[in-house]
Symmetry: C2
Subunit: 160 residues, 2 copies
DNA sequence: GCATCTGATGAAACAATGTAGCAATGCCCG
DNA sequence: CGGGCATTGCTACATTGTTTCATCAGATGC
């Protein structure tokens, strides 16, 4: 399933995304007394440079191309760390990961819009969706914990 | 990731689910001139017996235990067929499949409620969620095509 | 009936994704 | 400086999914 992204979107300044993401991870590590190791830094940078979700092995390859190639296991561990700390998201329908540039409220509901043409993936917050989902779940006596909300389609730019 | 289902829910008459599912697939195959082969029948039955999403290889094992063990590739092909025809759903967050007992409207939005304790997975329809999701997507200029809406949590029975 | 054509299955190798277990390393802290 | 702990490296493995080609069964036309 690789290479579904025909044209990675390089239309804006990724440097801003990367520096923002690095500022966030540095701040969070300082604040919570966690270690911002070289590998964590490299993975976070690589993720933040892409608005297309990256698979674990794709990350291994990219890091390998730019320096020493880390073992897959280490990358998975870093990804677990990033996801746990809210610095990245797992995109289930792609088996891939996406950097998250902004903090989320605890029970905030986020929807991912995944372009099937260019791969570009955006987060969208929606109070309305969150409310409706909670309502639908509660109507079934279901206690929601984690939400996977991913919509595949065509992004604005790919529609011209 | 296997065995997350602690206690498969066997609280109601699966025979009804199975016979309903088989009636649906028979009707659909007749209507569209498709072939309801033995393997398709076996996979559909195995799926319909479970309200816990089953992985492809788990299906292979189950079919193997009950008769001749089909090659994984064949099971994947049947699963593709079932999903394409709307007789089953793929649960992305589990890499597994769930029988679908009822027809869906073309643009109907379905949410899956997946119990993390017993694995039981239910479909819930919600017009409100569909409307809000469409609105959120359109606000981004995004044209939605396929939705993956999966909520993990605890089902009513597991909450006592 | 018989050739043929098409869709479905069988089989084996492979690719991609994810984990387990243990050793080694580096960092903090007393 | 030494012990404890988090992190990483490494190897092997488990799971999930695909590619490719051969075979088989059912329909179709003659």
């Amino acid at each position: 399933m690789p290479g579904s992204a025909a044209s990675p979107p390089d239309h804006h300044d990724h440097a801003a995304c990367v520096s923002g993401a690095m500022a966030r991870i540095e701040h969070l590590c300082t604040q919570k007394g966690m270690r911002l190791t070289p590998l964590r830094r490299r993975v976070m940078e690589a993720l933040a440079q892409s608005h297309v979700p990256l698979g674990a092995y794709e990350l291994v390859d990219r890091l390998g191309a730019a320096g020493e190639r880390p073992p897959p296991m280490s990358v998975y561990r870093v990804l677990d760390f990033l996801v746990t700390e809210g610095l990245a998201h797992r995109i289930e329908s792609r088996n891939a990961f996406l950097a998250c540039g902004h903090a989320h409220d605890k029970d905030e509901v986020v929807v991912f819009l995944i372009c099937e043409q260019c791969g570009d993936t955006r987060e969208v917050r929606s109070h309305a969706v969150g409310r409706d989902l909670s309502w639908a779940a509660r109507a079934e006596g279901f206690e929601p914990r984690q939400r996977v909300l991913e919509i595949a389609g065509r992004c604005a730019r790919c529609r011209e």
